[in-house]
Structure formats: structure tokens, C-alpha cells
């Protein structure tokens, strides 16, 4: 703290250029090039999108629990066209499942999570005035915004939005005659994703360049907080894999509108033989999952990085095995590129190729296990403060364990045959990817809210939010394992046609009840968030007594982040409860004592 004040007085010159120029309303609030504002823009957009996706899930959960019954809630949102008498239409059911997945995976957990925290934290934690290119950063947000608008607009077109599942496998997604959502809805989906990918690439390049080139003096790569390591790998994965999705989407667009046959062959639909021959629908799946699997880690790694930082801070204990944590992030990142085939074990791929994917996929369990054990060891003999952020971080470890273990079942191709595309898979990825990432996101929001808005969120409401969310997360997704092991496929509108599922399908009622309570829990969060933005108590500079650089900046946001020169870094960020220190934390900008070892 003393050092910060000192730095602030010492260098008035360097800060001068940055915070004394006039800002118009537009350049400050709308087309801002300030990374902190852009981060907040991402966050608020993502919260809105998340609500859209949550409401969609409630609508189809109602149908699954009480099939064929009318609900005013359903009718309220969908109207008489898609929910006559409040009964969800079966095409709309598929559309909702599709858009729920798309929004959650891309708009909330990729755009929302990376967009918010990479923007907010990278310059602040590496010690930079802003991103390498503020302008491209601004474009990144506005492409994201535009992409969100296009995606939402697809909800209102004739024929409904894209309905081929979030993985949009052709030919279903290529042929409007196969499903009405593959008409205008699908075109808009592809346009939206193209914009999204552009946004994500602009963001990702910026993150990589900023982390590599704009670190402050003394900020060696081995002194970076784990959040930055995670966000760095995330950006690298995104930059390498999103272009492949773009090419997949463009080829699909050509198949749809110009009569090419990249993905289509030998199709006879609606009484007519199509002329496309020679293409392969499986090619699309290879391209899609080449992005799709790294995407899982694009979603997960930032959450793990955030958790590492928060657990260490609030256990008042250095993160256990810092280098092992970096190593496992690198290993996960590398392996994530050579496992995509495990989504395709039953597409008829060569069994030998399948074996390779089994082996590489199961290897990911090793770095994942290392991370879990390191988290647990960090808690061991810690001095734990239960901030809401800390609670969500611990929750993340729990969901990561539960979802990670079922991943071992699914990675085993012989077992995957029996549970592929059943509710078992739905349970697995919602827990390990959906819940873990969203817990990480909540943890990050509670932890860095003071940094973002200069206010504090209400702790008690945070507790209520956490415990409701944790209980409901398992209440919703745990029973799905059992539904899946009874053989029930996913993406079924109604199971009553299959008496064989009658005895497990009442679990759907339990699931839906938990989903409703869980959604109400998110009302508490949303209220707490927006109320605190405007009326929350003022934050102090370093509320959690954290070591990282962002807490050395003033509470009020200024362009350029530090009023004086950027502080120099002298140590790693995890000197918590270091023996021989008077406080249980030592900021990264505190020089080492002359006989002190770094760690």
C-alpha cells in the first residue's frame, strides 16, 4: 500500500498524458477503448444473454417434466404460434435447445467469461496501461454485440431460429425442408457466429500480444498470476481453433445457398433427389469439433485461472504447486487439440483412429487431477475467508470433480457407444463445462466487482446465491446421469412414447423443480449485481488484501490505470502468510528483502 502511494506521487509525468483528456459520453460509455469499460460491456451483455438462455431452459424443462401440458409461462414468451395453449411446439423445443446451447457456450461462457475477465484483468494484472490495441479491442466488443443482436433476431423469423442442435450438424442444418429452423433462422445463426468468431479473434490476438509484450518491469512469465496464464492459453486456443469453425460455417453457407456439396451427398428429401453428391457430413463434424473440443477448454480454463487466484487469496496461502498449475494448463491446452474425435466414436470412423482419441482424451485426466489435488492442498491448513467469490471457487472444484470423473467414462469409446447422446452426456458436460465455468464466472464477478465498479456487492445475498446455486446445480444435473443410464436419448421432446422410460422419467420433475429454484436464485444475483452497481457501498482499494497488481490501481477508473508510472514487480503473486512478514500478504510491487528468497 505504501509503495503504491509512493509510486503515485513519484511519477506525475507518465500518468499525465493518460487521464487528463476530455471524454465525450459516446467515447466513454459506448465506443470506449478502455479495457475496463469494454470488460464491463461484455459482462452486462452476457448477463442479459444468460437470462435469455435460462428462460429458454425453463420452458423446455417444463415440457420435459409435464409433457403436453399447457403453461402460461411458455405461452407468455412464445405466443400462440409456437405454444398454442401454452403447449410447446416440438420444432420450437428443438429450437430452444439449440439456441440455449449456443448462447450459453458462445455468448455467456466464451464471450462473457473471457471477454469480461481477459479485458478487465490482463492489462491490470500484467501492469499495462491498456490492451495492445484499444481500437481492435473496442471492435471486438461491438462485433460481439452485433453478433448477439443477430442471434436474438433469429428468434423472431418465420420458421423459427436454428433448430439442428448447437452443433448444427448438416445435412439437418443445411436443408430447410428437413426442419423449418434451417431456413432463415439458420442463416442468421451462421451470420451471427461469423461475427462472433471475428470478435473472438480480435479479442484473442489482443490478449496474446498484450500478455507477451506489455508486461511491466519485473513481470516475468513465471511471476504472472494464474488467471493470466489461463487467459493466455485460452486466447491461444481460440486464435488457433476458431478459424476452423469459421471455415466450417462458410462451407456450410455455400452448401446452403450455392448448391455446393461439401457436406451433402445422396440425399432424397421431401420426395426429391438432391443433386449434391460426393460430400461428407462427417467432414463437418471433424471441422466443428476441431474447434468444439478446444472450445470446452476456452470455456473452462479462464474459470480455473480465476479460481486459482481466488482460492489462494482467500485461503491466505500460496497456490500449491504454481509451476505444476502452469504445466497442467499447458498440457490441457495442447491435448485439447488432439482429442476432438471423441465426440465422433459412433459416426463410423476407423476404429483405430478411435483408439488414438481414447488414449489422448484420457491423458487429459492427468493434468486435471493435478489441478484438483493442488486446489485441495491449497485449502489444507489455510486460513480460509468465505467471501462469495471463495465459495464459488470451492463450488467449481466440486463440479470439476463430479463432471471430470464421468468424462473418463465417456472418453472410453467402448462405453461411449452405450451412453452416447443420452442424458448421461447432458449431465456430464453441464456439470464439468457449464457449471464449472459459470461458477468460475460468478467467483470472478464477486471478487473483482470492487475493481470493476468501485462498489461492493452484498455479501449476504452472495451467500444465499451461492448455496442455492450449488444445491440446484447438483439437483438439476445429478439425476440426469441416471436418466441417461436408463438409455434415454437427449433432445427428445417427449418420452411418453417410450413406456420403458416411465419409471425414471419422474426424475424429470425433480430436475425441473430444481431448475426453477435455481433460476430464482439467479434473480438474487442479478438484483445484487445491478443494485450494487448503483447503490452499493463504496469499495476500498484492496478489499481482499490481495497481492496482484490490479489492486494497486485507484478505485476510481482512470485511463491508463495507474496515475503515476506503472509499478515494478518484484515477486510472484502468491506470497500469502509468508514467514517473516508482518502481514499475511505481500503485494507484488513490494521489493524483496535483501536476504529474502522469492518463493
Amino acid at each position: 500500500m505504501g509503495a503504491t502511494a509512493h509510486a503515485a506521487h513519484a511519477g506525475h509525468d507518465a500518468g499525465h498524458a493518460h487521464h487528463h483528456h476530455e471524454e465525450s459520453f459516446i467515447s466513454k460509455w459506448v465506443f470506449s477503448q478502455d479495457h475496463k469499460m469494454i470488460g464491463k460491456q461484455f459482462l452486462v451483455t452476457a448477463i442479459f444473454m444468460a437470462w435469455v438462455a435460462v428462460i429458454m431452459s425453463l420452458i423446455f424443462r417444463l415440457q420435459l417434466a409435464w409433457p403436453g401440458e399447457g403453461f402460461a409461462f411458455t405461452n407468455f414468451f412464445l405466443g400462440d404460434k409456437w405454444a398454442p395453449g401454452g403447449v410447446l411446439d416440438s420444432n420450437m423445443y428443438l429450437a430452444l435447445v439449440t439456441i440455449h446451447g449456443t448462447i450459453m457456450v458462445f455468448f455467456v461462457l466464451t464471450g462473457g467469461l473471457s471477454g469480461t475477465f481477459a479485458n478487465l484483468l490482463i492489462p491490470l494484472q500484467v501492469g499495462a496501461r491498456d490492451m495492445a490495441s484499444g481500437f481492435i479491442n473496442m471492435l471486438s466488443y461491438w462485433f460481439f454485440f452485433l453478433s448477439s443482436v443477430v442471434m436474438l433476431s433469429s428468434l423472431f423469423v418465420e420458421g423459427g431460429p436454428a433448430s439442428a442442435g448447437w452443433t448444427i450438424y448438416p445435412p439437418l442444418s443445411a436443408l430447410p425442408k428437413a426442419i423449418p429452423g434451417s431456413g432463415t433462422g439458420m442463416t442468421l445463426w451462421l451470420v451471427s457466429m461469423t461475427l462472433f468468431i471475428a470478435s473472438s479473434l480480435m479479442g484473442g490476438l489482443n490478449y496474446v500480444v498484450t500478455i507477451l509484450n506489455l508486461r511491466t518491469k519485473g513481470m516475468k512469465m513465471t511471476r504472472l498470476p494464474l488467471t493470466i496464464w489461463a487467459l493466455f492459453l485460452t486466447a491461444v486456443l481460440g486464435v488457433l481453433s476458431f478459424p476452423v469453425l469459421l471455415s466450417a460455417a462458410l462451407l456450410l453457407l455455400l452448401d446452403r445457398s450455392l448448391g455446393t456439396s461439401f457436406y451433402l451427398s445422396d440425399i432424397h428429401l421431401a420426395g426429391e433427389a438432391l443433386e449434391q453428391t460426393g460430400g461428407s457430413p462427417i467432414l463437418f463434424q471433424h471441422l466443428f469439433w476441431f474447434l468444439g473440443h478446444p472450445e470446452v477448454y476456452i470455456v473452462l480454463l479462464p474459470a480455473l485461472g480465476i479460481t486459482s487466484e481466488i482460492i489462494s487469496t482467500n485461503a491466505r496461502k500460496p497456490i500449491f504447486g504454481y509451476r505444476a498449475m502452469i504445466g497442467s494448463i499447458l498440457a490441457i491446452g495442447f491435448l485439447s487439440f488432439i482429442v476432438w474425435g471423441h465426440h465422433m466414436f459412433v459416426t463410423g470412423m476407423n476404429p483405430f483412429l478411435g483408439s488414438v482419441f481414447v488414449a489422448t482424451t484420457l491423458l487429459i485426466a492427468i493434468p486435471s487431477a493435478v489441478k484438483v489435488f493442488n486446489y485441495i492442498t491449497t485449502l489444507w491448513r489455510g486460513n480460509i475467508i468465505f467471501t462469495p467469490g471463495m465459495l464459488f471457487s470451492i463450488g467449481l472444484v466440486a463440479t470439476f470433480i463430479a463432471g471430470g470423473l464421468t468424462g473418463i467414462i465417456l472418453a472410453d469409446s467402448a462405453l461411449d457407444i452405450a451412453v452416447h447422446d443420452t442424458y448421461f452426456v447432458v449431465a456430464h458436460f453441464h456439470i464439468v463445462m457449464g457449471m464449472s465455468a459459470i461458477f468460475g464466472m460468478f467467483a470472478g464477478i464477486y471478487h473483482w466487482f470492487p475493481k470493476m465498479y468501485g462498489k461492493m456487492m452484498n455479501t449476504k445475498l452472495g451467500y444465499a446465491h451461492f448455496w442455492i446455486t450449488l444445491v440446484c446445480a447438483f439437483g438439476v444435473f445429478f439425476p440426469m446421469h441416471f436418466i441417461g443410464l436408463a438409455g434415454a436419448p437427449r433432445r427428445y421432446y417427449d418420452y411418453t412414447e417410450f413406456p420403458m422410460f416411465d419409471t425414471v422419467i419422474d426424475l424429470n420433475v425433480i430436475v425441473t423443480l430444481f431448475a426453477i429454484v435455481g433460476a430464482l436464485g439467479q434473480v438474487i444475483f442479478t438484483y445484487n449485481f445491478f443494485y450494487s452497481v448503483f447503490r452499493g457501498p463504496k469499495a476500498v482499494q484492496n478489499p481482499w488484501k490481495s497481492n496482484t497488481l490490479e489492486w494497486t490501481t485507484p478505485v476510481e477508473h482512470i485511463h491508463g490505470n495507474w496515475p503515476g508510472p506503472i509499478p515494478t514487480v518484484h515477486r510472484w503473486p502468491y506470497d500469502y502468510s509468508k514467514p517473516g512478514k508482518s502481514e499475511d500478504w505481500v503485494s507484488q510491487i513490494t521489493p524483496l528483502d535483501h536476504d529474502e528468497e522469492e518463493h
Partner: protein
């Protein structure tokens, strides 16, 4: 009205939360407490909850196992299903203890080491021995899982024996059709351009080609006649497009005929183009018990997936390619209905159905579609009947009486000169002829 009520409830709910938060904030302000200072009471409360949560969590898990464990898929009715189930059990024996142990440690430590300002956390940035331990141990365990898993995978996906019973499953929105090879034991070649009302699978025979050509010629003639009348421009354009399409289609079918003739020339009686006429196209799906079956899978329109949960087999149906899976069913449908586990499940289901006033359920193996395929994806099913080999042979003999081109009693001799010969390729891939 209900919409208004919903809105009112939501608004009131938010207001209630808001008021509670205000009260809390005012009281904490009065006590001079800062929001970021987590009180000892708060820490203790959360620590207690950290210890209570795993009890609820594990309790929920155990309750699910107890209450629903016997409602999972019953005994696997195939050899590969038995292997898969054994592998799954092996995995559970490893994973469930790990699940309990890691969660227990996590929540136990989280609750135990609650903050006290009189205490310091243990300074422990790393411990190489420990880290090596939990890198090597999972690696070894995974090595075993991988080897065991791949061993099973190899057995499942190995080639089927030449004596295997062959059946083709053909998927389209939203039903399944089965095809058996008929008396000659060979499935005939197919081409999707020949699909029409009489030939839902597009089986290629000289006869089918002629019929399809005639159909196209007739439609073209009708379109041409229509063009002679007075029509709006848009309709004229539409018809002209249609005629061009029909010409291209006819050209491709002519090409197909050429490929067929070359294939027959090259392979003689072995040519698959000579084996379509006696194929049996049926909505009944039969397999003999304890005999290996090779199930070939095709799709007419989009990707479907053939999933038979009780046999633990699944394979996608992909337009443009033929996929396959092999299976040895081990329990007939009739015997399955007398397996105690199944009988208990069926009795339970029927008790429930009776209470709901629904019809009685009898057990059947089911083929489900397990890849999203459109509005009726959720009801794309076909029962599978597993019978004794004798019953199967009897059924086949009966079915063979109604072959694809069986209207003529003497459908046996091949419709095309079988002395010709050509490459062994069932797909029409030759270049387009320029004419027509």
C-alpha cells in the same frame, strides 16, 4: 390475466429481496461494518455449511442409487453388451471411491481451516514429492483404464465373420425400414436417385431403372405440355428449371445403368447389381439369438443414429455412406420378458400406467433414433424381435416370399445378362455422360 399475475409475483419477489437487502445494509452500516470484512459468524456459518453440504450431496447420490438403481437398463442382451457392462462396472469401482474421497477432502478442509486472525496459514508453495505422487498415480490408473477400454473396443469393432446374418437398417425422417438379402444371401446395390413410391430404398435393378426413367420421362412430358399453355413468367421459369433438373437426373440414371453394366461385366454373378431383386424390404426387424449379425446402416436424408439400448449398440446413419455394427444377441425377446429384473420393471411400469389409465406395456427391444433429426425425432422407433434361430429361419422363409421385385412369381433369374463383368463398386461414381 395470468401474464399480469406472473409479472406481479416477479416484481413483488424482487421488491422483497430488495427490502431485505436494505435492512441488512442499514444494520451493518449502524454497526460500522464494511462489506468486505467477513465476520467470524459468517465464516463459521459457511464452514458449517461446507460440512453439511457433502452429507446432503452424498445422501442425494445414495438415494438416487437406491431409488433408481434398479430402474436402469436391465441385463445386456448381447455379448458385447456384457463386455461393456463389465468395463463400466470396473470404471465405477475406481471412479466412485475417488469421487467420495476428493469431495470429502475438499469440503472437510474447506470447513476445517476457517479464518482466525490469531493464526497463520501454513507456508507451502510446493512439495515435489506430493506432486509427483498425484501425477504418477492417476497416470498409472488411467493406463489400466485405457488398456482395458481399448481391448473391449477392439473386440466390438473387429470385422464381422463372413457367416454373419446381414441386415440393413434404413433411416429417414421419421421411421426405420429393414432390408434382408433374400434367397441369394447378398444385399443388392442401391442408388438414391431410384427412390420412388415402389422403391423406398432405391434398390438398383434393370427393372427399377426402367421404371424410374419412365417416371421421369412422363413428368417431363407433362411439364412440357403445361409449358405450351398460357402461364405467368414465374411458373414458366419454375417449369423450365424442373425440366432441366429432370434431364440431369435422367442423365445420371443413364450413367448409373452404364456403371451397372460394367460392374456386371467385371464381376459376373458376384456383382451386387444382380442381387437386388430378391431383397426383402420390411418394417419387421428380426435377429436370431446367439448368432452374429452384421447390421449395415444407411440414411435417406439426414444423419440419424441407430441405437438399441438393451444390446448396448449404436451407430450413426449417415447419408452418402454405409456404416455398420456387429452384434451377437444373447437373449430372445421372449426370454427377456421372463428375466426377473425385466419382469419387475415391466410390472412397475404397468402399475404406473394403469393408474394413469394408459394401455398395457409389454417388453420389446427397441431401435431408437439417437441423433437430432427433426420434429418427430422423439418418436422414431422400431421394435427388434430376437428369436431362436429356427424361428428366425421360418420368418426369413416367409419373408422371402415377398421379395422386392416379387410380383412376378419367377423373379429368380437376373433381369440383366449375367455373363458381363466389371469393377466391384456398388456406388455409381463414373463421370457424367455428356449427352442427353
Amino acid at each position: 390475466m395470468t401474464k399480469l399475475l406472473i409479472l406481479i409475483v416477479v416484481v413483488l419477489g424482487i421488491l422483497a429481496v430488495a427490502q431485505l437487502a436494505r435492512v441488512y445494509e442499514l444494520t451493518s452500516k449502524l454497526r460500522g461494518k464494511r462489506e468486505e470484512d467477513i465476520s467470524d459468524a459468517d465464516n463459521r456459518m459457511n464452514a458449517t455449511l461446507m460440512w453439511l453440504f457433502p452429507i446432503a450431496y452424498f445422501g442425494f447420490f445414495i438415494w438416487l442409487v437406491v431409488a433408481y438403481g434398479d430402474k436402469m437398463l436391465p441385463v445386456a442382451a448381447s455379448t458385447q453388451g456384457a463386455d461393456t457392462d463389465a468395463l463400466l462396472d470396473f470404471n465405477w469401482w475406481i471412479l466412485i471411491p475417488v469421487f467420495f474421497l476428493t469431495n470429502l477432502l475438499l469440503f472437510y478442509y474447506a470447513g476445517k481451516y476457517t479464518y482466525s486472525k490469531d493464526r497463520r496459514a501454513f507456508w507451502q508453495p510446493h512439495n515435489n514429492k506430493l506432486e509427483l505422487l498425484w501425477t504418477v498415480v492417476p497416470a498409472l490408473v488411467l493406463f489400466v483404464i485405457i488398456i482395458y477400454g481399448l481391448n473391449t473396443w477392439q473386440q466390438i469393432t473387429g470385422p464381422a465373420s463372413p457367416e454373419a446374418v446381414q441386415v440393413e437398417l434404413y433411416a429417414k425422417q421419421f421411421d426405420w425400414t429393414a432390408r434382408y438379402p433374400g434367397k441369394d444371401g447378398v444385399l443388392g446395390a442401391t442408388d438414391y436417385r431410384l427412390i420412388n413410391g415402389d422403391n423406398p430404398l432405391g434398390i438398383v435393378t434393370a427393372n427399377a431403372i426402367e421404371k424410374r426413367m419412365a417416371e421421369i420421362a412422363q413428368e417431363k412430358a407433362e411439364a412440357k405440355t403445361a409449358l405450351e399453355g398460357l402461364l405467368p413468367d414465374s411458373k414458366v421459369e419454375e417449369l423450365e428449371h424442373r425440366i432441366a433438373y429432370l434431364d440431369r437426373m435422367a442423365a445420371r440414371i443413364v450413367n448409373l445403368r452404364m456403371v451397372m453394366q460394367q460392374d456386371i461385366k467385371a464381376n459376373g454373378a458376384a456383382s451386387t447389381y444382380l442381387h437386388g431383386a430378391d431383397d426383402v424390404v420390411t418394417k419387421d426387424f428380426y435377429l436370431p439369438v446367439r448368432k452374429e449379425a452384421l447390421i449395415l446402416i444407411r440414411s435417406r436424408d439426414i444423419i440419424h443414429s441407430a441405437f438399441i439400448p438393451h444390446l448396448r449398440i449404436q451407430m450413426n446413419a449417415v447419408p452418402g455412406m454405409t456404416t455398420s455394427m456387429k452384434v451377437v444377441p444373447t437373449i430372445t425377446t421372449d426370454s427377456m420378458r421372463t428375466v426377473p429384473e425385466v419382469m419387475r420393471q415391466v410390472a412397475e411400469i404397468n402399475a404406473q400406467r394403469q393408474a394413469e389409465g394408459k394401455g398395457e406395456y409389454t417388453f420389446d427391444f427397441l431401435l431408437l433414433c439417437n441423433k437430432i433429426c427433426g420434429a418427430s425425432h422423439y418418436n422414431m422407433q422400431m421394435p427388434l424381435i430376437v428369436t431362436t434361430p429356427d424361428e428366425f429361419d421360418a420368418w426369413v422363409a416367409e419373408a422371402n416370399k415377398k421379395p422386392f421385385e416379387g410380383a412376378e412369381p419367377a423373379a429368380e433369374p437376373a433381369p440383366v445378362d449375367s455373363s458381363m463383368t466389371a469393377p466391384k463398386d456398388s456406388m455409381a461414381v463414373a463421370a457424367l455422360p455428356s449427352g442427353q
